[in-house]
């Protein structure tokens, strides 16, 4: 019972209670608890970007953006999907990471990997202090507090324009080659593998976090916050830890953005950006990590594609897509897929035997 798979787990107690037989339900649950080892489909999912690299060599810039934002959306999934904190302030941590990485490079610290870790550390630290404010109160209060954090950080960056460049953004810094060998190139090849590697590492880390007893307790808090103290679990400290980790991961995403684009704009810590993260996450499905990945990819590819066809009214089509997903695909796109699998099995499984 120490290791729990981080894979989708029915978050609807009502639905599971109404399941056909109790025994059957139990065995499914035991299955889920069984193995922390990656399943086959996970390997396939992580091979997809690598395939895309060779199939769409002209779209590396988009690939880099998708993977960068996916890391930030993963961070949001940890607090929203697992811990149940709705955050509108995650762009603040994303931006703090971006500015930290950018300022390090601008002041001579050009080594990318340590720069990235420091960027993550900076926003981890600020996330830690912010977490004390965030865990107070309930949903709406938290929404307001995170929104407030986002606005405060944005205004600070705007005010400190001698450091941050203000509205004009932070530019004119360069990043050294990775390991001193692989320089960031015009086509974005190095950036692509760099971001791919980092996002994979972050994902594996988060996968361990959510499948640990700690991750399970987060979900328990989300489902029944009043019962947790009865089990002897401290709700607030767990939420704080989750929020802090999430802020650190968001900072790493920001660091990736700064290093791969050699630019940090003030929009990277704006509230609209935070809302965009939220939309991507909801689109893909919350509380299942893969939802964050799929949501980001689909949102950004759709965005790119639609904006290319119709540069003026693409937002209209984007809105239609979002509404369609929210109305017809419960639990986001990945959620809908996972709901489809059991129903298909139920229908065709017997016949196959």
């Amino acid at each position: 019972m120490t290791i729990v798979s981080g894979l989708p787990h029915s978050s609807r107690p009502l639905a599971s209670r109404s399941g056909s037989s109790r025994m059957n339900h139990r065995s499914v649950a035991v299955d889920r608890l069984a193995s922390p080892r990656p399943r086959l489909f996970e390997a396939v999912v992580w091979l997809l970007p690598a395939v895309a690299y060779f199939v769409f060599p002209d779209n590396l810039a988009l690939g880099v953006s998708i993977m960068t934002y996916a890391v930030a959306v993963l961070a949001l999934d940890l607090v929203l999907g697992y811990a149940g904190i709705v955050s509108l302030g995650h762009a603040a941590f994303f931006g703090i990471g971006a500015y930290a990485a950018g300022l390090l490079a601008a002041n001579g610290w050009r080594e990318p990997l340590t720069g990235l870790l420091l960027a993550g550390a900076a926003s981890l630290m600020i996330g830690f202090f912010a977490s004390f404010l965030v865990v107070r109160g309930k949903d709406l209060t938290r929404l307001m507090v995170t929104l407030g954090i986002g606005l405060v950080v944005y205004e600070l960056a705007n005010r400190l324009s001698s450091i941050t460049g203000g509205m004009d953004g932070l530019s004119g810094f360069e990043v050294s080659p990775i390991f001193g060998v692989f320089a960031f190139d015009l086509y974005g090849k190095t950036a692509w593998w760099y971001v791919y590697g980092v996002s994979l590492v972050v994902f594996i880390f988060l996968r361990f976090v959510v499948s640990s007893p700690f991750g399970l307790s987060l979900r328990a808090i989300r489902e029944g916050v009043n019962r947790m103290p009865a089990l002897g679990a401290s709700v607030n400290s767990r939420l704080r830890i989750a929020f802090t980790i999430s802020a650190g991961v968001a900072g790493i995403a920001g660091g990736l953005l700064a290093q791969t684009t050699q630019f940090v704009g003030i929009d990277s810590l704006s509230v609209p950006r935070a809302a965009e993260f939220l939309v991507m996450l909801v689109l893909g499905g919350t509380g299942r990590l893969y939802g964050a990945l799929a949501g980001t990819a689909i949102f950004m590819i759709a965005h790119d594609y639609l904006a290319d066809i119709d540069p003026v009214y693409w937002e209209f089509w984007m809105g239609l897509l979002l509404m369609a997903v929210v109305l017809f695909a419960r639990g986001g796109i990945v959620g809908a897929l996972f709901n489809l699998v059991p129903s298909l099995k139920a229908r065709f499984g017997r016949a196959a035997q």
Binding site: S161, D168, S171, L186, Q262, F263, D267, S268, P311, V312
Partner: protein, 392 residues
């Protein structure tokens, strides 16, 4: 037999492949990065209109090459999108020249790529000081904020105003405008009595305007982002009776932009601004431009500085290509355009040979009603104005 035919076919294919680049080289692809969606889509629209108008008047062929436009939306102040757009334009669409760039952040985010790929970058509006340093192939055609602001200070100094207040939006551009105005004022012996900074988003101007009223200065210099903020400030200024008390309002063209001047209405009458383009500029070239613009885009209220800059950007591009006989590579065309002078609807403009920045006449204008329309009527000029902040 079959084999021989195959070989012939293969040879033909190879021959075609070899000659193919010559076909490709007959077109020059221009990648445009403009805000076509979001809160600044009107900016993008104005610029696109200017570009299309120029190409309609001058044809889409120059120096034997066909000009092909590829438009990318950066959705406003979104530098990472602008950067990705530029990377796509260079890598995927294989454009020869980059143009557009409404905001400084977009231009600066794109500059490292343009520099590495050696693509000329024609910046049509981004206005922060000194951005042409970011890439040796960047040419600015629009304006710089200090360039249009400093003359306001010089004009105020020349008028002998004793006490002057400045009010600027608390963002980078506002700070730059404040500094440039004070620099201009000091150069003509003036002094600022006080400086106020107001929040850029949803400001309530009442307390600020009241404070100014209580201080009773001779003039107020204001820099606010074009649009709602500028309109509200002018209205508040008028309602609180500052204009009636004879306090002169000075500003840059952002305050009385062609697109917002009607919304300010009578409250804006008498506001003195400095800028590089007014639709009411008196020249044959401008009259023809305005007429052609309104004929093509009757639904737009009228052309403003954005459409003119975009129009001029294309003019400069065409001139450059004629000079290089169709060579669009960054270093060649940039070199050819250094020191280039053209006659624009706004008046004479020049590309500084040293820093590739815009040199132009800055006009002092007053809002008046001409033929039932509000217009910025020019009455004084500062020829060959440069960006003095960048020169230092």
């Amino acid at each position: 037999m079959i084999r021989r035919q195959f070989l012939l076919g293969a040879a033909a294919t190879v021959a075609f492949a070899v000659t193919h680049p010559a076909f490709a080289a007959d077109t020059i692809k221009v990648g445009l990065v403009l805000p076509m969606s979001g809160p600044f889509s009107q900016y993008g629209q104005q610029m696109q209109n200017g570009i299309k108008l120029f190409m309609k008047e001058h044809g889409d062929t120059v120096a034997g090459k066909k000009i092909e436009l590829v438009i990318k939306d950066d959705g406003g102040i979104a530098p990472d999108r602008a950067r990705r757009a530029v990377q796509d334009l260079i890598v995927r669409d294989k454009v020869d020249i980059l143009a557009g760039f409404t905001f400084t952040a977009s231009a600066l985010a794109a500059a490292p790529m343009a520099k590495e790929a050696e693509k000329a970058m024609i910046v049509m509006n981004a206005s922060s000081s000194g951005i042409t340093e970011a890439s040796p192939y960047m040419i600015r055609i629009g304006q710089t904020l200090p360039q249009i602001t400093e003359p306001a200070g010089r004009y105020a100094g020349e008028q002998g105003f004793k006490t002057i207040y400045t009010v600027v939006a608390d963002i980078t551009a506002g700070h730059d405008a404040e500094a440039a105005f004070i620099r201009g004022l000091k150069s003509t012996g003036g002094e600022v009595a006080g400086s106020l900074r107001v929040p850029a988003q949803n400001p309530d101007f009442a307390p600020f305007v009241q404070r100014i009223k209580d201080a009773k200065p001779n003039a107020v210099f204001a820099w606010l982002p074009p649009g709602e903020a500028a309109i509200n400030f002018i209205k508040e200024f008028n309602q609180r009776g500052l204009a009636a008390e004879g306090i002169v309002m000075l500003g840059t063209g952002d305050l009385t932009d062609e697109l917002t001047i009607t919304q300010t209405g009578d409250a804006g009458l008498g506001v003195v601004t400095t800028g590089h383009y007014s639709m009411a500029h008196k020249s044959a070239k401008n009259e023809a431009f305005v007429k052609a613009y309104l004929a093509d885009y009757p639904n737009e209220k009228w052309p403003n500085f954005l459409s003119v800059s975009a129009y001029d950007g294309m003019a400069v591009l065409y001139h450059g290509l004629e000079k290089t006989k169709g060579d669009a590579s960054g270093p060649v065309i940039t070199e050819a355009l250094k020191g280039e002078k053209i006659e624009s609807p706004r008046g004479p403009i020049e590309i500084d040979a040293k820093n590739r920045d815009i040199v132009q006449t800055i006009y002092v204008r007053k809002v008046e009603k001409v033929d039932g329309r509000f217009a910025n009527v020019e009455f004084h000029e500062f020829p060959e104005s440069r960006d003095s902040a960048a020169a230092k």
